[in-house]
């Protein structure tokens, strides 16, 4: 990444028939920052994430990620360029164990190539040991040790959210879109996760854009906040100030206080 260290969108719009889900969304976020996004249910937050990660095609608009322009770029390619994400409704690999779920994460594993798998077993084994060690660190951090060898399909909702965060981290992105990381996670762990996100951000320079309904936790973590309502960005700024914004208070019916 040379000088361009931003993710920028210009006029992203998306409709389902007459229903305008996103209407001219434009923003610039630094790829090494901690950013939050809030908005009432149905505001279009998750849809925006899907457009950014390439799973949904917008009707119009542009997305720039660092030096790259995401036009028809596939989701896999966007991830290879460093954009990671998690999902609001967890998408765990339910028949794989928690450890295996994490180990799917790393990109370009030598053991994923048929040629290297059968012709360079030593290289595959070495890489696999590293991946396993990293997975184990995350298992401890995410407090998933007790279920590490259990199929992920049997985890609680909160544990699945943690697993998704871990899996995204395993793929070593430069920027991660987190969709409601705290939903169903117990309050003590929420603080620990926030702490870890700060740490990852500071030490490794990985940036985050976080959708979250837990405003208290989110405000303590991020430096700026975007507010999306009926598909439009209605406010952006430092969290405290944004929440005082009359339009935001109206959108949230006072729930933000």
């Amino acid at each position: 990444m040379s000088g361009a260290t931003q993710m920028s969108t210009r006029d992203i719009s998306l409709s389902y028939g007459d229903f305008k889900v996103l209407q001219g969304v434009s923003f610039d976020v630094s790829l090494n920052g901690l950013h939050g996004m809030i908005g009432p249910n149905g505001a279009g937050k998750s849809t925006l994430f899907s457009v950014l990660s390439g799973l949904m095609k917008p009707d119009g608009g542009e997305i720039h990620f660092g030096d790259n322009s995401f036009g028809h770029t596939s989701p896999a390619r966007r991830a290879q360029l460093g954009l990671g994400r998690t999902f609001q409704i967890p998408r765990e690999f339910k028949h794989l164990t928690v450890r295996q779920n994490l180990m799917v994460g790393p990109r370009k594993q030598p053991g994923e190539s048929l040629v290297e798998l059968f012709l360079m077993p030593a290289k595959v084994r070495r890489f696999e040991e590293e991946v396993m060690a990293r997975a184990d660190q995350l298992i401890d951090f995410l407090k998933l040790r007790a279920v590490a060898d259990k199929p992920a399909g049997g985890l609680s909702g909160g544990q699945k959210k943690l697993l998704e965060l871990g899996r995204a981290l395993m793929s070593e992105p430069s920027f991660i879109l987190l969709d409601e990381p705290y939903a169903g996670v117990n309050p003590v762990l929420i603080e620990e996760i926030s702490e870890r996100i700060r740490e990852i951000n500071k030490e490794r320079g990985i940036g985050f854009l976080i959708i979250e309904h837990n405003l208290m936790a989110l405000n303590r973590l991020v430096t700026d906040l975007y507010v999306l309502d009926t598909g439009k960005l209605i406010a952006h700024g430092e969290p405290g100030a944004v929440l005082e914004h009359p339009q935001v208070r109206a959108a949230y019916m006072g729930a933000a206080a």
Partner: protein
């Protein structure tokens, strides 16, 4: 009688190869292949024609059968895997019927519905035809062992982990920077190769092949085998094939037992019993004999 047992053993072996192929594709990767019989047919005709018309040694015609079947999977992967999952089922079913119709129509090559007679037995030059049959069984068992070793290595590797992740949630795999279509095409080709190999064994064992041996029913028999054995377990594919042949062949012995069943009724009875067994499995043991999956 022991000729009959030998035949049963060879049929079981061929079904085991087909079940392993389908289990790799469906059990491990979630690909719905309804066209297994097509790959099986391509393997059978390829090896038969190469040995008979081109005078090739089976040592070369068997690998050729596997390779051609794998190559035919490639365009299917390119076309169908970009579409939704269920389209693959339709496209592969269409593929296997196209293969069968081509075999019927292209008489200059395949003798059409009359079929190809006199496919050479393996080791035919060594005199005793009995020996040749045992030799084929030995080669078949060797092949199965090699395929199982290969699949064990494959499914326990990072590659195997990723194909299972694709089966469980393709979207999550894509946002991790992996292209599921690449893996799925490779698996279609690998499975195609195994089915093609099974076809070559079939042709050289039967010594007489006709297009009607490769109707979609063959595909669905193999589906029944892996469902009964338990998906995503290599042992399940083997046991499923054994159970399947036990019921399809075992029905023959009912001829003298159940009154009023003529030879003409046998085919229907065979189908009916396999269907009934499948229903009982679905009701009492949906995960199959070896399946460990709960209903998650």
């Amino acid at each position: 009688m022991d000729t009959y047992l030998l035949t049963i053993a060879v049929i079981v072996g061929i079904y085991v190869l087909l079940s392993l192929s389908l289990d790799l594709q469906y059990g491990f990767t979630g690909l719905i292949n309804f066209g297994l019989a097509g790959f099986f047919a391509v393997g059978a005709y390829t090896s038969a024609l190469l040995t008979m018309r081109a005078g090739l040694s089976p040592l070369l015609s068997f690998p050729a059968a596997a390779i051609l079947a794998a190559l035919l999977a490639w365009p299917i992967g390119r076309v169908a895997l970009r579409l939704r999952d269920d389209y693959l089922a339709i496209v592969t079913l269409g593929f296997s019927e196209i293969v069968r119709l081509v075999l019927v129509q292209e008489q200059w090559l395949t003798e059409g519905v009359r079929g190809i007679a006199g496919v050479p037995r393996l080791g035919a030059g060594w005199g005793n035809p009995r020996f040749s049959e045992f030799f084929l069984l030995g080669m078949l068992v060797l092949c199965i062992v090699l395929v199982i070793l290969f699949l064990r290595r494959l499914t326990a590797s990072p590659y195997g982990r990723t194909i299972q992740a694709i089966r469980d949630d393709e979207t999550a795999v894509r946002v991790l920077g992996k292209e599921p279509a690449v893996f799925k095409t490779q698996i279609l080709m690998l499975g195609g190769a195994i089915a093609g190999l099974a076809g070559a064994f079939y042709a050289h064992y039967m010594t007489y092949i006709v297009p009607d041996l490769f109707v979609p029913l063959v595909t669905f028999y193999i589906w029944m085998a892996i469902i009964m054995g338990g998906v995503a377990r290599l042992s399940g594919a083997i046991v499923g094939a054994v159970i399947l042949v036990f019921f399809t062949e075992g029905v023959r012995f009912l001829r003298g037992v159940i009154p009023g069943v003529s030879d003409a009724h046998m085919g229907s009875l065979q189908l009916g019993i396999v269907g009934l067994v499948l229903i009982l499995f679905m009701r009492w043991r949906p995960q199959g004999v070896f399946g460990s999956r709960g209903a998650t």
